[in-house]
Amino acid sequence: MTSVHALRCLLGIMKREYLRFLNQRERFIAALVRPLLWLLIFATGFRAILGVSIIEPYETYIPYEVYITPGLIAMIQLFNGMQSSLSMVYDREMGSMRTLLVSPVPRWYLLFCRLLAGTLVSILQSYAFLLVAALFDIRAPALGYVALLPALIVTGLMLGAMGMVLSSMIRQLENFAGIMNFVIFPMFFLSSALYPLWRIQESSDLLYRLCILNPFTYAVELIRFSLYLKTNGAAAAVVVVAFMGFAAIAVYAYDPARGILSRKGTGE
């Protein structure tokens, strides 16, 4: 594969994802409404109950809705990663995945293109959410929106790769609802998205340990620190390592010699 071929392939896959995204406006609206409900209703209701002390990266006391905004961005990407994997399961069931897999391009590269395309969609959704949040006076430093971009790329890739691993484990579309319940919600709640980890530790050491083991926690923290122009090397390292781990499993799972396609044996 030449570099020109690789670029054409990447652009082709991204264009297809973009066209599908345009065709699914309700997906975009749902992706926006979900975090806005949390931000404008849940956070407003809970701001009086859940006080947040001064913790890094914040330099002062902050309202609760400011605290949960990075967590909600990570939630957008988490849902998008799952949505992409759902669409991979759909493509596999409907057959269009075959078109992709029989093209003369290394399979790892096809998966990477697909991952990058999904990540870009999640970044568009995240900035649309931040725009609406800004209209409600939930704002970060102006440069924070720029610093956020590289963080969103790596967190989006990590969550997308995780979705890809899940898609390789799902035999049929119907099983996906279970994954949503058993993966998305536990990951979201067992993280620092809705409450600082010290608060969880005060209540339960076990839950705190689970949060520490959850890669989603580090995605949230990386987004939070970047948005407030601070660095968090540990969070960045965990996110990058988790991305590489998930990506390696996804490539393994989609390998024709070992992977899901031959294991299933759905043909004659």
Partner: protein, 249 residues
Amino acid sequence: MSIHDENAVLAIAGLGFSFGAKCVLDSIALTVRAGEFKLLLGPNGAGKTTLFSLITRLYDSPQGKIEVEGNDLKKNSGQALRRMGVVFQQPTLDLDLTVRQNLMYHAALHGLSSVRAKARMNDELDRLGMADRADERVRKLNGGHRRRVEIARALMHEPKLLLLDEPTVGLDVPTRRDIVDHVHSLSRDSGIAVLWATHLIDEVRDGDSVFVLHQGTRRADGPLADVLEATATATIADAFDALTSGPGT
């Protein structure tokens, strides 16, 4: 070591495949040459789709070898896949995209430039009488037209080998006939090697080669006349019955 047949576009030797303990294909050897139209005949469950999945590298087998124009599918998969156009049994078009968007997506996966892709798309759609439907969503097309688009798509990158897995299933008789005729003329006029899997024996034409697969084993392989002679039958229907009536070997 390559499989020795200089004229072979597709050459398969010693290919076996199992799902767990169940043997689906056993020691398959098959060759398709340039300009040859070979029908892969077999009843449902014979192993045709599995064989297609192996040729297109959706599955991989530890036993045997597959080459496309001398390129080993395992060692040089990019070069082998580049030479193949595939029409799967299951429709694989994106229904919410237009014909043009589907074809351009395929062209991008094969690394065609935008100019080249447009020219190829126009040629293939013209040839299939679909040029005026390029901007319609695939969802609006009927089954026969969708199949034509899939054939056009498989030809976009000018493959040397065209694989079609039961491409006429579910289509009415005139549409089936049109598609069978079209692919025959492609093979004859453009020299493309065609492997056409079907269980519909009325799709066999004089001059075709047939490969009969039954319970994962080869039952016959050669020009239609030779197969009729070997089975002492007058029609392919009788030959097919004779070859697929017994248990697998």
